[in-house]
Assembly symmetry: C2
Homo-oligomer: 205 residues x 2
């Protein structure tokens, strides 16, 4: 039997963590799950900071103790030499293009709005943040829609770029973003969900 | 003679663009330079949006017209199969870890503060943004310092992770961030500057 070589430190409702759970499921890789209660400040405590000095989940730990942070870097590590990352250099760079887009233009607007609405009291400052993030989040969805009008996936076949962007797009409505006007995104969400070994955001381990 | 196969669409004062100019210089790759005046809205006009629907510089264009956006994806494309990206899978993922850290935890705080101070009128809203970005930017510098206390570069040898993080760290003071308390970062900045084929942010082409 294969040993559980990976340990995933994660917050169960995190889309960034869900990306890693998704790829582990796609690749049939067993893992141990360690829930980190970021709402209780556990990701800012010394034992967690020893794993990731940047104080953010998810963290993937190998059996020898080495740790890797940043969800999209973890996707790359696990996806290399599998069908989830293309072999062609241009396509590989295009996968990364969409993953950097996800972290810079999508996640800080759509994921952060969802976090504010689901996990905080919306005071005046947070209300202002939500209002700033709304047009920027819709702009990111517009960029995705334009691409998905002519493409089934972000880069040729299903890849880690799709996993990265699916994680928070499929729960965008929890962040106050309606996907009603985005038929391309809706088709793509269905295509990702129809992949063998897909799992939902609340399926852990 | 080698043709100029690359065209770089860029804003000359951009650190994200500077990353690409740096790697092109390190690799002795000639390129055509097309300045895009983002202050005049040129990156939001139709001819630029045809290159990058996300409306952001830098964009690297190949001779056949294909375009790649996201500075760190461009670094990966140009750096693959050169000494600027390690061959070991864990080290490759670690390079990406630092590059995603750069785009999520560093650039939105340090680069954006610099942009506000250099290129805008600081009204009440921007002053509030600066105040929010200050602790987050110093937190990113703290993470870098902790790593550089025990390491010459971010991942073994000089790599695109160093290029990505150098671009805005070396001008952090223009964003209001003092590097006086960061001896590890200062040593690393000097090590990056001492690389053969280094060029400054105002060296173009």
């Amino acid at each position: 039997m294969a040993e559980n070589i990976y340990t995933l430190y994660d917050f169960p409702d995190s889309g960034n963590g869900y990306k890693v759970r998704l790829i582990l499921n796609h690749l049939h890789l067993p893992y141990r799950y360690r829930a980190v209660d970021i709402l209780a400040g556990e990701s800012r405590q010394a034992d967690f900071l020893a794993l990731n000095p940047n104080g953010k989940i998810p963290v993937l730990q190998l059996a020898d103790g080495r740790c890797l942070a940043e969800s999209n870097a973890i996707l790359w590590y696990l996806g290399e030499d599998t069908p989830l990352i293309p072999a062609d250099p241009w396509q590989r760079a295009s996968v990364l293009q969409w993953m950097f887009f996800e972290q810079y233009s999508h996640e800080p607007n759509i994921a952060t709005s969802r976090f504010i609405l689901k996990h905080t009291e919306v005071d005046e400052e947070r209300q202002r943040a939500l209002e700033q993030k709304r047009p920027a989040g819709y702009a990111a969805l517009d960029v995705m829609e334009r691409h998905l009008n002519n493409n089934t996936y972000f880069v040729t076949d299903f890849s880690i770029a799709d996993i990265a962007l699916f994680a928070y797009t499929h729960v965008a409505e929890e962040g106050g973003f309606s996907l009603a006007g985005y038929p391309g995104i809706q088709r793509w969400l269905a295509a990702v969900r129809s992949q063998p070994n897909h799992c939902s955001i609340d399926a852990i381990g």
